[in-house]
């Protein structure tokens, strides 16, 4: 076994560290510029100005107008607002909603809740790469359809959906049926990492999150296209254009905006750098480890996501053993989940439960160095060999 050398974080899809440059601009907003955005005095107006400036920055990175951005506490809240807010506001036109079966649990569970309230939910299947077929979206649409929610890129296997094509399909069907079908996308894994433009994608609502792109935790946003009929989940003082009452988290939002500025500046370079490292891991693992398989699409995937399954190895053991060697990664194994069930995404792409048990997600980020990737490629085969030796299924 190699000696443990350092702590290597390869789980950026779970969360990212706050960039020092983000932290720096947030700091004054805790004790010095602490005002409530609803106050009329100068403390309040200073906070309000920072909020509106931040709204413009976040809007700009996705090609939206400032007034189309609602800040929330998380992507989970944004997704809940998108699904429930649209469904409840438009139910007199129809009660049919379409999602994919590889959405994040907060979309799946929101849809399930709406189903209990009498809405009809269609869950689209994906192919073995995790792709939704735009034709399937077209077939699923009917005159009662009011909302379609398909994630931009999957958080586990990294597959990027053909959102633009799906957007076109929905636009066509909307004009044929003469009834608006809203299109929502959960862009948590793509916003700030690859170019995301709401006009180009043809979407009406989009969920984003700060902590996945070197901003603070506790800040999300929902893009809501002008003219969209939606109702709030949180009622109160009428913050965020009446769509999300709550005293505004100014420090967090200022941090989110700074994270957007940095992402914009560094995105192009980062995509190239991370794609190269990603390919090094894919090729290195498939070459060095017999019985290893890549999940997700070989090309249409996030620059920072690699996902495998390994024969004869259980994922939780693999993650803990790698942690002991100083490497932080993640798994979709049943043994690692609260429900003791394998990841719904891995089952949806056709993996058997025993194959999903041996899954491993490696996600790269801003601080990932090539030397870390090299260390990972050296350690992983040793760890897998060790675990296979304990197993009764060794060849």
């Amino acid at each position: 076994m190699s000696k443990k050398i350092e702590n290597i974080y390869l789980d950026y899809a779970a969360t990212t560290p706050v960039d020092q440059r983000v932290l720096k601009v947030m700091e004054p907003y805790f004790s010095e510029k602490f005002g409530n955005t609803m106050s009329l005095h100068s403390f309040g107006q200073e906070a309000k100005a920072a909020l509106e400036e931040s709204r413009e920055v976040v809007a700009k990175l996705m090609g939206a107008k400032a007034q189309e951005i609602i800040f929330t506490s998380s992507a989970t809240e944004s997704n809940n607002l998108a699904l429930k807010g649209i469904a409840l506001a438009n139910q007199e036109r129809g009660r049919h909603i379409i999602i994919s079966n590889i959405e994040h649990p907060c979309v799946i569970e929101s849809a399930k809740w709406l189903e209990k309230q009498g809405f009809e939910i269609t869950r689209l299947k994906v192919n073995k790469f995790g792709l939704v077929n735009p034709e399937d979206v077209k077939k699923a649409i009917k005159k009662e359809t009011i909302l379609i929610s398909i994630m931009h890129a999957n958080n586990e296997i990294g597959t990027i959906q053909p959102i633009e094509q799906i957007g076109k399909v929905i636009k066509n069907e909307t004009s044929k049926l003469k009834s608006k079908i809203y299109f929502h996308t959960d862009a948590v894994q793509t916003f700030g990492k690859i170019p995301v433009n709401v006009q180009k994608l043809g979407i009406d609502l989009m969920t984003v999150s700060a902590h996945k792109m070197y901003g603070p935790k506790g800040v999300g946003a929902l893009y809501i296209k002008e003219g969209t009929k939606i109702i709030p989940l949180l009622h109160g003082g009428g913050h965020e254009m009446g769509l999300r009452s709550s005293t505004v988290n100014v420090a967090g939002i200022v941090g989110f905006a700074q994270a957007c500025k940095l992402a914009k500046k560094e995105m192009e370079k980062e995509i190239k750098r991370l794609t190269k490292l990603r390919e090094k891991i894919v090729q290195g693992v498939l070459k060095r480890i017999p019985g290893s398989h890549l999940n997700g699409h070989p090309r249409l995937r996030l620059p920072n996501n690699v996902h495998f399954w390994f024969e004869g190895v259980e994922g939780e053991s693999l993650v803990i053993q790698l942690d002991l060697m100083g490497i932080a990664v993640s798994t979709g194994s049943a043994c690692s989940s609260e429900k003791l069930e394998p990841s719904h995404v891995l089952l949806a792409i056709g993996l058997k439960p025993e194959q999903a048990h041996g899954s491993l997600r490696i996600s790269l980020g801003r601080q990932t160095k090539e030397s870390e990737v090299n260390y990972f490629l050296k350690v992983l085969p040793e760890v897998i060999k060790k675990l296979r030796k304990i197993s009764p299924f060794k060849k």
Partner: protein, 170 residues
Amino acid sequence: MKKKGIYTKKVIEHFSHPHNMGKMKNPDGIGKVGNVVCGDVMWLYIKVGKNKKGQEIIKDVKFETFGCVAAIATSSVITDLVHGKSLEEALEFSKEEIVKKLGGLPPIKLHCSVLATDALFEAIYDYLRKQKREIPEKLLKAHQRIEKEKKELKKRYKKWMKIEERIRKK
């Protein structure tokens, strides 16, 4: 007890350096429990000998396990605990002893300790059966329960098979 993440230090020690790990040549009894669909499979091998008093004892014990950290650690610790014990003593063995020895297990992982005692009981059952000996009531009951559970798992596996077929057809 000191913990590393969700597991105690003791669990991690056994997981990192499992005792009595590997296949046994010509075992007197084998206990095979668990199901790969659920994630944990444990094989326990025993060799039976006699002590000075003429009692039958577990002279040697080895294991092979596919599964999570808790499954590997409980396998390792049970082999330590039963090594040299008489068959009678081994049959009185409870999962609580394993959990205690490991300084505790997360509640969601307690079933792994059941798997380990089941593997031990099945190995002793296998030995007695091969010897065409009388099988104690308690052991017979344990064996029947394990068999029943295996059947239930197979049913669950069927459901997965159907899902798989459906996906393949698409």
